[in-house]
Amino acid sequence: MAIRERLSGNEAVATAMKQINPDVVAAFPITPSTEVPQYFSQFVANGSVDTEFVAVESEHSAMSACVGASAAGARVMTATSANGLALMWEILYIAASSRLPIVMPVINRALSGPINIHNDHSDSMGARDSGWIQLYSEDNQEAYDNIIQAIRIAEHKDVRLPVMVCLDGFIVSHSVENIELLETEKVKEFVGEYDPGLDTLLNPEQPVAMGPLDLPPHYFEHKRQQAEAMKNAKKVILEIAKEFEALTGRKYGLFEEYKMEDAEVAIVVLNSTAGTAKEVVDELREKGVKAGLIKIRVFRPFPVEELRDALKHVKAIAVMDKADSFSAAGGPVFVETRAALYDAETKPVVINYIYGLGGRDVRTNDIMKVYNDLLEIVETGEVKSVYNYLGVRE
């Protein structure tokens, strides 16, 4: 029997980590992810896990310690947010290119400056090209479920890449929700014993060196191989989701389609805003409007073909970005979604809304405005503006 609990997002994440009982957690506290290492250090202190907890002096060191421990053959986790993630930047690339299956909850928060501790996606979007797999979570339940699946995805022999599990700071991390936990034995059975293989720094049978100099004759081949692992990840993510569904009844894919079968207008969005948007979709559906929603769960690898198939019959689409990429032409999710549709035979209109930066509230009436804009486009055939800001004072 699953365990019913009331937990905040951070507690849910820390609980998943407790049940996984990784070998090493190296972490530094930063709002709003502070509670994750805080709860976890309590689990270490009271003996409910036998993890080696490394209290470091910065996030750069946290990720460096994770890289070292993972290279040594340990199952390794950490957690961070915003500027903490930015401080890990250099080492994020090293973790990914060294093919180390580290799992890290990222509690999304705006990047400074100006200093802001509230939620948007500028942190994880900034790390999108670092070679980490990125999973996004709408609520506490998904955050918990994603962490457990992330271990298997990261460690799969065809993947061997680190995974970020993203969830919205405060909105999810500090909100208490009802959640269904797996029994610890079931989590342990699902994630299994970690087998790092022979190529570890602490294997006396086969000494190896890691992190070599890799000049023009070889670097490109390594990047190509890394790209292949990212391609493989899509299939692996789906396989593991199937196993997870068999265990829990909870279904996960590369993205969630909400009332998309006959949708004429749709929003594409990540994380908790999807919950708000579903309310609006329901409201519109009651009025007979064919509205739908796509919530992207897997942003890296980006599900190009699958998204194209899910969206090609829609007449007008709004991609909502909780981060600006300052290209002066649209946010990161917009650019990639629109590119995915380039190969569709019938090309829907795709517009972009930058929204919710620095924790600006996004209410159902904001989302309603987006659907109304889409409906107007469908009706008039006219696109007034492709690149828009939602909820900023004009």
């Binding site: 022999k157 087998d195 086969q206 060196a209 390594h222 292949e228």
Partner: protein
């Protein structure tokens, strides 16, 4: 990465064969890396002029002055990067220092 075979990575190694993350299985493999490919100047050792004082040998940063039985016998051009330190160090002007073709 359980099934990795120990491979010597060369410029022929494809992305499918290369070791994940560039793992190195072989100790001391810097020897296989031909730093001599960078060379633009070549020191030429003239055996008949050499007094075997061995002042050139310890200054070479690439251990490229080849010795046999305590005597200089030539230069390891696979690793000599052409820095010219040996040329400067030789009190008997034994080396010619010429442009690489």
């Amino acid at each position: 990465m359980k099934d990795n075979k120990k491979v010597t990575i060369t410029t022929e190694t494809t992305w499918k064969e290369i070791t994940p993350g560039g793992i190195i299985y072989e100790a001391g493999n810097a020897h296989n890396y031909k730093t001599g490919e960078w060379r633009s100047m070549r020191p030429i050792w003239n055996s008949e002029k050499c007094k075997q004082c061995l002042l050139c040998f310890p200054v070479c940063p690439d251990s490229s002055i080849l010795l046999e039985d305590g005597k200089v016998v030539g230069i390891d051009y696979d690793h000599c990067k052409g820095c010219g330190v040996c040329v400067e160090a030789c009190p008997f002007k034994v080396f010619d220092f010429v442009k690489e073709d």
